[in-house]
């Protein structure tokens, strides 16, 4: 185990393991056949260490299985942010960090790299090369913790204002807002680091329907957002993990939006594929790498086209053919007693048209690129569906087959 470390250099390698643990937490050592047993053991040990408060282990005939037990009703932060807090560093990194914090006690204090080196030796009896101190100071300038300016030939460093110094009256309220936003906003991990810095934790806000795995894709999201803002094309390396096989493909895509499911937490890149001349979506959790390419000349033209297309996506699919799927659902809803069903239809129907047909009977109609995406939604109305009609014969057959299969499964009708 001499090669085992709790901290890591690269996030990418551990990302897929954590995701698998989160989703297929019940996989045993043998299920991870792609890498050696030793790699599996190290990754498992690391994940168990990072997330030890949330780990649930059980023993089955297949071996020890480890899973993450996360109850979103009780979590004040995303436990998977801990994975982001595992970057390795050197002994010099951590010492210089705390020496800098101590030496730059006031925002008015300025030092050259040589001054810093001397003060560190005088105050803490540690000898560093001035070049190393300068490199670290320049890194902190880049990160925004220090600023630098020239005084003749001397380069002086100074600490930037802390949050408390910059916004003294707003500070407590801001921390409350950050407590909420670290749980709910994009790249929330960053917010959790602000709370870490101030040594405070959220105790007020919770999320219902909290899907925590999404943070594992934040580095991918970060690169894609940057490309969206600058109208650049990107190449993405995509790895789809179906149960039976894994496939790697590379796509050149013009990124436009991130589609998000609030019911699964799954996020998708929506973009234009110049080679196929169509819009498409790719799951963020399947994107392994993003490479920035040149700006896309027709960015705004296709952006406008996309905005016109979005109302016809029920989910994330732009369909595979040019024809639209027309769906019509007729429902039995007792007026005055079951109006909450109508509320659900309006709330969840994504722009579909609701018509009162006769007493206690309503229809819901919608035209979409891919009717298959409506099927889970339609099945939530089981118990009150009078009919399901569509111009897509496959969907129609599938719907009635599913109901039939369920009725047999629960022995409502005989096999």
């Amino acid at each position: 185990m001499s090669d085992y470390q709790e901290l890591i250099k690269s996030f990418q390698k551990s990302r897929n393991y954590v995701r698998d643990f989160l989703i297929y937490g019940f996989k045993s050592r043998d299920d991870f056949s792609q890498k050696s047993g030793r790699t599996y053991d190290n990754e498992r040990r690391r994940i168990e260490s990072w997330l030890h408060e949330y780990i649930h282990a059980s023993y089955t005939p297949q071996g020890k299985t480890v899973s993450l037990a996360l109850d979103s009703n009780l979590l004040h932060t995303n436990p998977l942010y801990r994975v982001w807090k595992s970057r390795s560093f050197t002994d010099n990194d951590i010492m210089l960090h705390f020496f800098f914090l101590s030496l730059f006690h006031s925002e008015d204090t300025t030092y050259t790299a040589e001054d810093l080196t001397n003060h560190i030796l005088d105050n803490y009896q540690v000898l560093f090369e001035a070049q190393l101190v300068r490199k670290k100071a320049n890194e902190y300038v880049k990160e925004g913790i220090l600023s630098s300016h020239r005084d003749g030939r001397r380069k002086l460093y100074r600490r930037t204002k802390t949050l408390q110094e910059a916004l003294p009256t707003l500070f407590p309220l801001l921390l409350l807002a950050v407590s909420f936003c670290q749980l709910t906003m994009p790249l929330g991990f960053v917010g959790s680091t602000i709370l870490d810095n101030q040594r405070v934790a959220n105790y007020i806000f919770l999320v219902k329907h909290g899907y925590y795995g999404f943070t594992l894709e934040d580095e991918i999201l970060f690169s894609l957002l940057s490309a969206i803002h600058t109208h650049h094309m990107v190449t993405v390396l995509n790895r789809s993990n179906r149960t039976s096989y894994t496939r790697e493909e590379q796509f050149t895509i013009v990124p436009y939006k991130i589609f998000v499911s609030t019911r699964t937490g799954r996020r998708f890149l929506c973009g234009y594929l110049p080679a196929r001349q169509r819009f498409s979506t790719l799951r963020l959790d399947q994107i392994q790498k993003v490479t920035l390419l040149e700006p896309f000349e027709d960015y705004l033209f296709f952006q406008e086209k996309l905005e016109k297309n979005i109302p016809f996506c029920f989910g994330v699919s732009f369909g595979i053919s040019h024809h639209m799927d027309q769906i019509r659902l007729t429902l039995f809803i007792q007026e005055g007693i079951e109006d909450y069903i109508l509320t659900r239809l309006r709330r969840e129907g994504r722009g579909g048209t609701i018509t009162h047909i006769e007493k206690n009977t309503y229809s819901y109609e919608i035209s979409v690129f891919d009717g298959n995406e409506l099927m889970p939604f339609i099945k939530t109305f089981i118990g009150r569906i009078l009919s399901f009609e569509t111009n897509n014969a496959f969907l129609r057959r599938k719907f009635y087959q599913d109901i039939d299969e369920m009725a047999k499964m629960y022995q409502i009708i005989k096999e």
Partner: protein, 327 residues
């Protein structure tokens, strides 16, 4: 700007806490170890303690038994450019702005003016979010939100009058405990207990008509997690998941927000136990139905009976409906 940076490392946090305490008074090895356990990962003390004690990280001095900080109390780190950029992006989000007046938002905008926006609301399309989310710009809603925020911090009782989901008007004294946000509903709920009761209630902020602070405060400690756990049914929902149409992965993602346990039964079948309470029951039932025959409910009987009831009602509707023209 890097997301994965040592600046946000958990070990830095551990050492920060140790130095803070060791600057106020000398602390023992045992106490240092305890801080490592509280803030660090499970095995962090194996890596951090030797480096601190043998002086590889020359940050503590030792008088033989106790340790003192060499650097004094570490002050809080200024925000990095990444953190300021994150705050700047939040200023475009109405839910963040709920917390602040316009003047306060302007002060924040000035503080973040040199940072670049990481995302804009229009970069995201929440395709399955409910259409009737809360109105975060309503002055009344904002006022209610801020009163409740104050009450939760001070553990102060409030008088709330609101319209329930069934349309009843209710007025009562409550102790507000938490504010819960749902991205799916795009709304806030207040989790509160009525005075003289220990039963947790959810109140949609949208339905609140009036809320006023009372001059009473909760004095004793309160175990919120125990209350939630106590609300769960003793028997979890037992599901059999058949791995068809990628149902396994879909189900694991879909039910990721519940506390659950899953085990493999055979090559193509998994059993999943989901823990729930009465407030989650209907939603869970609907979610299970949305998977069609890929998921079979095995128990408990009360949950299974609801599935069977809906299905038999469906079969009867098909049998009697003039609308149905099955294939």
């Amino acid at each position: 700007m890097e997301l994965f940076s040592e600046l946000y490392n958990c070990y830095y946090q551990v050492v920060d806490h140790i130095l803070k305490e060791a600057s106020a008074h000398p602390i023992s090895q045992k106490r240092i170890q305890a801080i490592c356990g509280e803030i660090g990962f499970a095995e962090s003390s194996f890596y951090i303690l030797p480096k601190l004690f043998d002086g590889t990280w020359h940050l503590l001095s030792c008088d033989g038994t106790h340790y003192q900080s060499l650097t004094g109390e570490p002050q809080s780190l200024p925000l990095t450019l990444l953190q300021r950029s994150w705050l700047k992006s939040l200023l475009l989000e109405p839910r963040f702005c709920l917390f602040f007046t316009e003047e306060e938002q302007e002060a924040l905008a000035r503080y973040t003016e040199n940072a670049k926006v990481l995302w804009r609301p229009k970069d995201f399309h929440y395709f399955d979010q409910y259409a009737d989310g809360d109105d975060y710009t309503s002055p009344t809603y904002r006022a209610h939100f801020q009163i409740l925020l104050t009450a939760i911090q001070k553990r102060q009782y409030v008088h709330i009058s609101y319209h329930s989901m069934k349309g009843h008007r209710i007025a009562h004294h409550y102790l507000p405990l938490k504010l819960e946000y749902s991205a799916k509903n795009d709304q806030f709920r207040l989790l509160a207990i009525p005075e003289y009761s220990h039963i947790l209630q959810n109140i949609n902020l949208k339905g609140i008509q009036t809320v006023t602070l009372l001059s009473r405060f909760l004095e004793e400690d309160f175990d919120f997690a125990a209350m939630i756990r106590k609300s769960y049914y003793h028997e979890p929902v037992r599901l059999l998941i058949k791995n068809q149409r990628n149902a396994l992965e879909r189900a694991m993602l879909h039910f990721a927000n519940y506390e659950k346990k899953t085990k493999k039964i055979d090559e193509n079948t998994w059993e999943c136990l989901i823990y729930y309470n009465s407030s989650m029951e209907t939603e869970l039932l609907i979610e299970v139905l949305s998977f069609g025959p890929a998921i079979q409910v095995l128990g408990p009987a009360s949950f299974l009976n609801q599935v069977k009831y809906r299905l038999s009602r469906q079969i009867k509707l098909f049998a009697n409906s003039s609308y149905v023209t099955p294939s």
